[in-house]
């Protein structure tokens, strides 16, 4: 079957292995899968509680992952949204300040969308870099959350509903986990099957080409930020419900965890590469790692060192990175060899 035409450009070797190797190096999620496998293996051996009592683990994954999923939409387009942490806090505070529960949730989600619109406005209309715009919003909204809440936690009106929300709904899955899975499915379908979502990749990969291809880039950016804001607001509403109170200081740890989850999942901060699936895997890896470390009762400082080390190794072991290192080494070795051979005059 291996005619010359097929062999051209490919090294000879058994085809399944070749396919596997290409699969691993090409797909952006591969690193997340490997990390997840390693972390899961480690957890099974050392702390099987992570899996036997999986609802706590899933809860942690949902906590990290929900915001990360919304972020993915924005990062795929080559933009960043740092304001999600404060969006989470503000929407929670707004929701708790409104007595009617469905009304509060609705208003919170609307607030999230509005924040997304504002972010997109600064990026698209005014033309600021999204990193800066959302950084400014991060500070601004945090301040707003403090002002609205008068700098202290705000309890929701219907505490029983909140507590019920935290209890498992279907099987062992709490509403948070179900929402998380639902958002994942929607986002996955959106970015892979729906035309508008797939255009996100084009906008991120090569914006000028996307313009030329007739994609309404500005509108897509608005959509992306609105998704991110909406999901972050949703996460804020969920947190507030489960906690039965809105904490204006919340969200700071989630910001960096979500970015970590997305980047471990293979997303490229400059856009065009990555996937919602990768983000899910990244969140799963981080969640299992964190819960496993908690169960292990190791000193908290050491836990942080482990998390940092795992993150570090994960991020430098991107196949592209490893290739880059090998290239450098190869060039260095080759140049040294050339230095040793006498130059014959041409």
């Amino acid at each position: 079957m291996t005619s010359d035409a097929e062999v051209i450009g490919t090294k000879s070797g058994s085809r399944p292995v070749e396919r596997l190797r290409r699969l691993i190096t090409r797909r952006p999620e591969s690193r997340a899968v490997i990390l997840l496998a390693i972390v899961s293996l480690g957890a099974i051996i050392l702390e099987p509680l992570v899996f036997t009592a999986y609802s706590a683990t899933l809860g942690r994954i949902a906590l990290i992952g929900l915001v990360a999923l919304g972020l993915t939409a924005v990062i795929l387009m080559g933009e960043l949204d740092l304001s999600v942490a404060s969006t989470l806090a503000v929407s929670g505070v707004v929701m708790a300040s409104i007595d009617s529960l469905p009304g509060g949730i609705l208003v919170a989600l609307i607030v999230g969308v509005c924040i997304g619109v504002a972010n997109a406005f600064f990026v698209v209309v005014v033309g600021i870099n999204s990193f800066i715009a959302t950084l400014g919003m991060l500070f601004f909204l945090r301040g707003l959350a403090f002002v609205i809440s008068d700098e202290q936690p705000v309890r929701i009106a219907n505490i029983d509903a909140g507590i019920a929300f935290g209890k498992p709904l279907i099987g062992d899955f709490t509403p948070r986990m179900l929402i998380f899975l639902a958002v994942f499915v929607v986002m996955h379908v959106f970015t892979t099957r729906v035309r508008v979502g797939r255009e996100f990749y084009a906008v991120g990969g090569n914006r000028t080409a996307a313009y030329d291809a007739g994609i309404p880039v500005r509108r897509r950016i608005f959509t992306g930020f609105m998704i991110s804001g909406f999901v972050a607001a949703g996460a804020g509403a969920i947190n507030t419900l489960e906690r039965t109170a809105a904490d204006p200081t919340s969200g700071s740890t989630v910001l960096l965890s979500s970015f970590a989850a997305a980047i471990i999942g293979g997303i490229l901060l400059t856009g065009g590469r990555g996937s919602v699936l990768g983000t899910l895997l990244g969140a799963a890896s981080l969640g299992i790692l964190q819960v496993g470390l908690t169960h292990s009762a190791v000193q908290v400082d050491v836990q942080n060192i482990v998390i940092g080390a795992v993150l570090f190794v994960a991020v430098i072991s991107d196949p592209a990175s490893v290739r880059a290192v090998f290239e450098r080494v190869r060039i260095a070795v080759r140049s040294r060899r050339h230095q040793q051979t006498p130059v014959t005059s041409a």
Binding site: I132, F139, L144, F146, G308
Partner: protein, 335 residues
Amino acid sequence: MTASNVETAAPSRSNTDNLAPRSAVVTGWLADRGIFVVTAVVVVLSAIFVDGFASLDNITDVFNRAAPIGIVAAGMTFVVISANYLDLSVVAQVATGAVVLIGVSNSRGLVVAVLVAAVIAVIYGAVNGIAVGVFKANAVIVTLSTTFIGLGLLRWASGGSIYFGSEGTLIRRFGTFEIGPFPLSMIALVLIALLLEFVLNRTTFGFAVKSFGSNPAAARLAGVDTARVVIGAFTFSAFGAMLGGFVLGAFSNTAVSAMSSGYDFRALAAIIVGGTSVFGGKGSVLRTLLGVVFVSILTNLMVLSGLGFGYQQMAIGGLIVVAVSVDALARKATR
């Protein structure tokens, strides 16, 4: 120029036809110098209308605010110019710097403390720099992970204790000494900023950082050793953060791992407000200095007006967005 009759119109060609209209020139100038103008205006207005703003004590307060963050931001400017977003690990480095200064110099003397801090800065610079420069990993995650590791190590090694400096030591004198309204730490900040600006503009390394930041591929083709540039940038950032930690420790005469929280984003805000582009390639440490002073003045004004923390955060966030918006809009007008 409307000609009433197309045939007869010999279009009067003035020699400014090929240049941008005068208004655009002005706005372009403003875009580059905007932050200077705004700072000057704010200072003048505040001196007139805000009671006590112009007093010597208050000026000292503004500078005391600016100094630690400013030194950190000055170093971090290199990372931003190299198009690597930011260096989150300054949080760990500042805390480590303060703890090393107060903790180590108490037992082993100042010289040992300085040496230890220098070694630690080199390690941070190397680890961050190699990961980002050689492995081409994402700077945000790399520095996030080194922050976790760094803070974890610091707390593990120090047990999380708070360290107290004694009175009357050299450190204490540095932390409290003032020449007129200028605390010694502010003078140190200015000197460091001038030094770093010199490095950025007049050395090959500085030029390499800028060219790498604006176009990495072109820089590599031009023979710039990209790994060395990135390692250098992160090393400068680390040294800046260590020095910032020293200044902070000297000022407060205590050291504890929690004292550096928020330094990463606050330093970045100062850099951005100063006008350095987050895209990399352009920028200046002196601008960062101005950015830090401006943010400190703003916070100072808010405290003087009795505004609470929430409003302060809103103002700083709003400032960042407005400052960059003005810059972006002005640039659009000149195009």
